[in-house]
């Protein structure tokens, strides 16, 4: 007897990824075995697991460091992006002069400005957070500007008829109307903040007891400890998922009033 289709599709969402991971791990082992690759080129899945389980504490500390930097950078990008986006949409002058410049955040490669960040902030967290914020801010600005511009002209007229001032119209009409758009920008920013953090750590991270994942990757590479590189990369992906997931979850709570 076959189970009802709904149960089957639900089971697939759990079993599917597990099977996919299992196949990937098998393929990984097969490639290593077939080409007789050395451990420092491609470690075995078991070797990677062992590298983590032998001494998980530094990896977990590093992941926490990176997650903290990513969240901090995201928070700065979120606040700064909404403020800048609002300033841009409130004033034509600011829109003409500043908005094109914000494209720089998008256009200039992070690796090109990271050395400057080290120069200004020194090695360590401030430069890393700055790099995360710089990478993450543009989608927040863009989604704020487009969300604020897309409001209903009829509601604009309602506020005019009710005698609302510019600031009240912005706070009670334009900004709430823009929330769904801003949230989309924030989700993109959450993913970018993690990327910006790891890149920032490559260039500005400090080693030692509390070395973040980006530093652990470069250190392990230098010492040909490829298993440790793999562990760090997988954890970096985990940090990315966690940061994105928490923002997505928070936005669902925030968006309850906007759901239709």
């Amino acid at each position: 007897m076959s189970p009802p289709p709904r149960t089957a599709s639900r089971a697939l969402t759990v079993v599917g990824p597990i099977v996919a991971v299992a196949i990937a791990v098998l393929a990984w082992s097969a490639v290593k075995w077939a080409f007789e690759l050395k451990d420092f080129v491609l470690p075995s899945p078991l070797g990677v697991a062992r590298a983590f389980l032998d001494d998980p504490a530094p990896f977990l500390r590093g992941a926490l460091q990176s997650a903290g930097s990513a969240l901090l950078g995201f928070a700065i990008a979120a606040a700064g992006g909404v403020v800048l986006g609002s300033a841009i949409s409130l004033s034509r002058t600011v829109e003409r002069s500043v908005y094109p410049l914000t494209l720089l955040f998008q256009m200039v490669p992070l690796v090109a400005i990271a050395p400057l960040l080290v120069l200004w902030f020194g090695y360590g967290r401030p430069a890393i957070v700055a790099s995360a914020a710089i990478v993450a801010i543009f989608p927040v600005i863009a989604s704020t500007v487009s969300g604020l511009a897309a409001r209903d002209a009829n509601l604009d007229e309602l506020f005019r008829v009710l005698g609302a001032g510019r600031l009240a119209t912005w706070w009670k009409l334009a900004l709430p109307s823009a929330v769904p758009s801003i949230v989309t920008g924030l989700k993109i920013a959450a993913g970018l903040a993690t990327i910006g953090t790891i890149c920032g750590e490559f260039l500005a991270g400090a080693g030692g007891e509390n070395a973040p994942l980006g530093v652990m990757i470069t250190t392990a590479l230098r010492n040909f400890q490829t298993e440790r590189v793999f562990v760090s990369v997988l954890l970096a992906a985990g940090v990315g998922f966690a940061v994105f997931g928490s923002i997505a979850l928070a936005s669902r709570v925030l968006l309850v009033r906007w759901m239709r």
Partner: protein, 259 residues
């Protein structure tokens, strides 16, 4: 004769348009119209689609300014206006109560007081049960009730209505018309209504002002039958006479415009 040129204003005029004209680019929407609205009266502006009656309503409500002429209002410290649009225009992220409280919120009324007054307005619009709901959870008729409550929450001395129930089904429309009329009889605000529907105008208003096709000129100013407005009014003789007079005036104006 039912048709007369101007209503004899026995009550003092709350709003008076004097020779107002309004153009939008090349379009001449209103051409030297003079019209006074007595305090506490209920006037309907009717006319063919696109004739400029909404423009006249907006000029009277002072949310638009005439190119020529003037709009004079009685000096009254307690004066306040409510405006009801064709669409409900509710904020999707606010509950019905918060939507109704919006005009008070923008006027700086404290939260507890404005919510209490919003509840009172919802009671008037018979929507108290839905206070906690969001706009998308309401039917078309309930959304218009919310819009009505929002316009009434400031206890306006003047209420402007721009084809408020045009998008509703016939039954809901009659129901809301009856309630609006009852509200007006109780509150006696100065009401100005734009509508396509001559029966609705005759039912709601004491006075029907009929306009020509664009640019809007007054072609008839008709007193509607006095007396009670209840469900029987819709099928009675009095309504028929008022509608006939309005239709005849409008048709004459349309034929004149064609010539």
């Amino acid at each position: 004769m039912l048709v007369r040129r101007m209503s004899d204003a026995s009550a003092p005029a709350a709003i008076e348009l004097r020779e107002v004209s309004r153009r939008f680019g090349a379009v001449h929407a209103v051409d030297r119209v003079s019209l006074a609205f007595a305090r506490g009266s209920f006037t309907a502006l009717v006319g063919p689609s696109g004739c400029g009656k909404t423009t006249i309503l907006r000029l009277a409500a002072a949310i638009d300014a005439p190119d020529e002429g003037a709009c004079a209002r009685a000096a009254d410290a307690a004066r306040s206006t409510g405006f009801i649009f064709q669409e409900p225009r509710l904020l999707a992220w606010r509950t019905v109560r918060e939507n109704v409280a919006l005009p008070l919120e923008l006027a700086g009324v404290a939260r507890a007081e404005r919510l209490a007054r919003a509840d009172a307005a919802l009671e008037m619009a018979r929507l108290a049960d839905a206070a906690e709901r969001f706009p998308h959870q309401l039917s078309g008729g309930m959304k218009m009730r919310a819009s009505l409550a929002r316009a009434l929450v400031t206890r306006p001395t003047e209420l402007f209505l721009d084809e408020p129930f045009g998008a509703l089904d016939e039954v809901t429309r009659h129901e809301l018309d009856m309630e609006l009329r009852a509200l007006w009889e109780r509150e006696r605000f100065t009401a100005v209504l734009v509508t396509h529907s001559l029966p609705e105008a005759a039912f709601l208003a004491e006075r029907m002002v009929v306009f020509s096709p664009r640019p809007a000129r007054i072609v008839a100013d008709i007193a509607t039958p006095a007396g009670a407005r209840d469900a029987r009014f819709w099928t009675g003789e009095a309504l028929g006479a008022a509608v006939r007079a309005g239709s005849e005036a409008m048709l004459r104006a349309i034929e004149e415009a064609r010539r």
